[in-house]
C-alpha cells in the first residue's frame, strides 16, 4: 500500500505531447479513475506509474520515494491489461504463481497462495486449465488473481473490462471494487467509460489532450464541471452560450449571476470569478429540464417556451428535442405523465431549466 504522487509528469514523443504536466496526489487506499477520450494521455500516465514508459519530465513518488528510476519489476505494482495478458503457455495456477516464483518463496507457500487466490476469484477448480480454455470474464478474473498474488503496493487497471460484454462489465467492475476495498490497496483505474468511472471511483480525474481538466468526486464532476470539456464529456449536456448581465455577491463570497441566453434570463447561484459582460456557456443537463404547465408556478433557474421538434421513446425515459429561439435543447422526461402537458396542436411546451453549471468561454474550447 502506498500513497502515489505525480508531480508535473510529462511525456513527449518527438514534438507530440502525450501527457502534459499531470499532477495528482492519491491517498493510500484511494480508488482513483483517469477518465477521458482515447488519446487523452490516461493510459500513458498509467504506464508511467507502472514504469513501462519513462516520463520526459516530472516526478512519480510512491510514499516518499521517487520511483522514476526504479525499473518496473522492482516497483511492486500490479497491472491489469485490457487484453488480460495471461501467459498462453502456462496453466491458470502457473500464471497466478508466476509473480511469486520471481521471488525466493518456498513452493508450499506459492501453492497455498495460488489456492487462496483461486478461491478469492471463486474459481477453485480451474488451477490446471489453460487460458485458452477460459471465457473472457474468467480470464480477467485470473488476471486479477495473478496481480493480487504478489501483494503489490499499487493496483493499476488499464481498461480491464473494455473487451468484455456489457453484463460481464457490470458484474466485474463491482468485483474489482470489492477486491480493492478488501485489500485496502491504492488503485488507479483507466477508462473511457464514464458509467464505469462513476460506479467505482473515490475520485475521478477527467483528462483531455494530455492534461487533467478536473479532478474531484463524482458529484463535483457531474454537477460542477469546471471546464466546457468536462461539462460536455461527462453525461449529456445542453450548452447555452450567453452574456452575464448582473452579478450579485453573497455573504459567503459566492455569487449569483444572471445570464442572457437563448432569449431568456438564466439565474445561476454559487458561482465565483464571474464578471458582468463575461461571455459564458451555461450547461443544463437534459434530465434537469422539466416540462411544466402554463399556469404552474415553479422555482427554476429559467423558464422558456419552445417548439417540440422530435419525440423519442426510450423506454424508461422520453427524449424531446425542443427548439427555443432557434436553439435546440435536449430534454429527458422520466415517465409519460408529463407528456400530457404537450399541446399537440401548437406543439409548444413550457420548460423549467434546473441546476445549471456555468463555464467562462475561453478561446475555442466552446462552440
Amino acid at each position: 500500500m502506498a500513497r502515489v504522487r505525480l508531480v508535473d509528469v510529462t511525456k513527449h514523443y518527438g514534438d507530440t505531447v502525450a501527457v502534459d504536466r499531470v499532477s495528482a496526489d492519491i491517498e493510500e487506499g484511494e480508488f482513483v479513475t483517469l477518465l477521458g477520450p482515447s488519446g487523452c494521455g490516461k493510459t500513458t500516465t498509467l504506464r508511467m506509474v507502472a514504469g513501462l514508459v519513462d516520463p520526459s519530465d516530472g516526478q512519480i513518488l510512491f510514499d516518499d520515494q521517487v520511483v522514476n528510476r526504479v525499473p518496473t519489476h522492482r516497483r511492486q505494482v500490479g497491472l491489469a491489461f485490457q487484453s488480460h495478458a495471461l501467459f498462453p503457455h502456462m496453466s491458470v495456477a502457473k500464471n497466478i504463481a508466476f509473480g511469486l516464483t520471481n521471488t525466493r518463496v518456498a513452493k508450499s507457500v506459492v501453492n497455498a497462495r495460488v489456492q487462496e487466490m483461486l478461491e478469492l476469484i471463486e474459481m477453485p477448480d480451474f488451477a490446471d486449465r489453460m487460458p485458452g480454455q477460459l471465457s473472457g470474464g474468467q480470464q480477467q478474473r485470473v488476471a486479477l488473481a495473478r496481480m493480487l498474488a504478489t501483494d503489490p503496493r499499487v493496483l493499476l487497471f488499464d481498461e480491464p473490462l473494455s473487451a468484455l460484454d456489457r453484463n460481464l462489465r457490470d458484474t466485474l467492475k463491482y468485483s474489482i471494487l470489492e477486491l480493492q476495498r478488501r485489500t485496502g490497496k491504492t488503485a488507479i483505474y483507466v477508462t473511457h467509460d464514464q458509467s464505469e468511472a462513476f460506479a467505482i471511483s473515490d475520485r475521478i480525474f477527467v483528462m483531455n489532450q494530455g492534461r487533467v481538466e478536473q479532478a474531484g468526486t463524482q458529484l463535483d464532476i457531474y454537477l460542477r464541471p469546471e471546464t466546457a470539456f468536462v461539462a460536455k464529456f461527462v453525461g449529456d449536456n445542453n450548452a447555452l452560450p450567453g452574456v452575464v448581465t448582473t452579478v450579485t455577491a453573497g455573504d459567503d463570497g459566492q455569487q449569483t449571476v444572471v445570464v442572457d441566453s437563448i432569449g431568456t434570463q438564466l439565474r445561476i447561484e454559487g458561482t465565483s470569478g464571474i464578471g458582468v459582460g463575461d461571455h459564458v456557456v451555461v450547461f443544463v443537463r437534459p434530465e434537469n429540464i422539466e416540462v411544466v404547465a402554463n399556469d404552474e408556478a415553479v422555482m427554476a433557474a429559467g423558464i422558456v417556451e419552445g417548439l417540440v421538434d422530435q419525440i423519442v421513446f426510450e423506454g424508461p425515459t422520453v427524449r424531446l428535442t425542443v427548439v427555443v429561439n432557434g436553439h435546440p435543447l435536449s430534454v429527458n422526461i422520466s415517465g409519460v405523465d408529463r407528456l400530457t402537458l404537450l399541446d399537440t396542436q401548437s406543439r409548444t411546451v413550457r420548460l423549467a431549466l434546473n441546476q445549471p453549471a456555468i463555464v467562462k468561454q475561453n478561446g475555442n474550447s466552446v462552440e
Binding site: L52, H73, A85, F87, G99
Partner: protein, 277 residues
C-alpha cells in the same frame, strides 16, 4: 390409393456419378505428383539394395554405415553448431529489429537476407577466397561452421522476426509488472512464446546445413569431410555404387525423420488450429 408413394430419386448404381469421377481425378492428380516427387528417393533406395549378383540385400547399408558414420557424425556436429550460433545471432537481432527503432530497418533486413539470394557457387567462391587469404580458416571445421552460418542465419532470423512481430508486447510487460527481470521475462515468457518461430528456424537450418554440398565443396578440407561431400566424392570414384546410394538414403531418411519429429513435437503444441495441427 392413399399410401404415400416415395419418389424414386436414387440414381442407378452402375451409372458413373460425375462427383465420384471428379474425386477420382483429383486423387490421380495428387498421386502422380507425389510419385514424381519421391521417385528419385525411391530409385536411390532400390539401387542401394541391389547386389552385384542381381539380388537384393542391406549389405550396402552395413558397408556405408561402417565406412561413413564418422562423416555423418561430422555433418550432425556441424549442423548443431550452426543452429546454436544462428540462434545466438538471430534472437537478439530479431528483438533489435522489431522492438527498437533501427534506422533503415527495411534496408538492413534486405541486406541481411542477401545470402539467401546469392547463387551457391558464388557464395562458396567468395567465402573460399575470404577464408583462405584473409581469415586463414579455409579447410577448417571453424571455417565450415562460419560459412554455414553466413549462408543460413537468415533462415533463422526471418521466422523469429515473424514470430516476434506477432507476439504482443503485453506478455513481457505483464511479466515485468509481476516482478520478473528482463532476462527472466525473456527466458520464461518471450522465448517459449517464440517457440514456433525458433523451432521453424532450427528446422530450416537443419535441413539446409545437414545436406549442404556446394559451399562445403569450396570450404571443407581434405579430412573430416561432411557426408554430403563424401557422396559427391564417391560418385566421382565409384559411380552409382549401392554403397553411395545407401549413404544418400541414410541422409535422406535422417532429414525426413527430423521433419517428422518436428511436427510431432511442435505440431501438437503450436500448430493447433492451423491446417498442420
Amino acid at each position: 390409393m392413399s399410401a404415400i408413394t416415395p419418389t424414386r430419386r436414387l440414381e442407378p448404381r452402375n451409372r458413373l456419378n460425375p462427383g465420384a469421377l471428379l474425386s477420382a481425378l483429383q486423387h490421380v492428380y495428387i498421386w502422380v505428383w507425389l510419385v514424381i516427387f519421391i521417385l528419385p528417393f525411391l530409385t536411390t533406395v532400390v539401387r542401394s539394395l541391389e547386389t552385384p549378383q542381381g539380388g537384393y540385400s542391406i549389405e550396402a547399408y552395413r558397408f556405408a554405415w561402417n565406412a561413413f558414420s564418422p562423416n555423418l557424425w561430422i555433418s550432425v556436429k556441424l549442423t548443431v553448431a550452426t543452429i546454436l550460433i544462428n540462434l545466438v545471432i538471430a534472437v537478439p537481432a530479431a528483438f533489435a529489429i522489431i522492438r527498437h527503432p533501427v534506422p533503415g530497418k527495411r534496408f538492413v533486413l534486405s541486406a541481411l537476407n542477401v545470402s539467401l539470394y546469392t547463387p551457391g557457387a558464388v557464395m562458396g567462391l567468395s567465402l573460399a577466397i575470404t577464408y583462405a587469404y584473409l581469415l586463414k580458416i579455409q579447410g577448417t571445421t571453424g571455417g565450415l561452421i562460419a560459412a554455414y552460418t553466413v549462408g543460413t542465419f537468415p533462415l533463422m532470423l526471418v521466422p523469429v522476426i515473424v514470430a516476434l512481430r506477432d507476439l504482443p508486447e503485453v506478455y513481457g510487460e505483464a511479466a515485468r509488472t509481476l516482478g520478473a527481470s528482463r532476462l527472466r521475462t525473456l527466458l520464461r515468457i518471450e522465448l517459449p512464446l517464440l517457440g514456433p518461430g525458433i523451432s521453424a528456424g532450427i528446422l530450416l537450418t537443419f535441413v539446409i546445413v545437414f545436406n549442404e554440398f556446394l559451399v562445403t565443396l569450396f570450404i571443407a578440407g581434405k579430412s573430416d569431410q561432411p557426408a554430403a561431400l563424401v557422396i559427391y566424392g564417391l560418385l566421382g570414384r565409384a559411380g552409382f555404387a549401392p554403397s553411395t546410394a545407401a549413404l544418400a538414403a541414410i541422409m535422406q531418411f535422417t532429414s525426413f525423420m527430423v521433419v517428422l519429429l518436428f511436427f510431432k513435437v511442435f505440431g501438437s503444441r503450436y500448430l493447433k488450429g492451423t491446417y498442420l495441427g
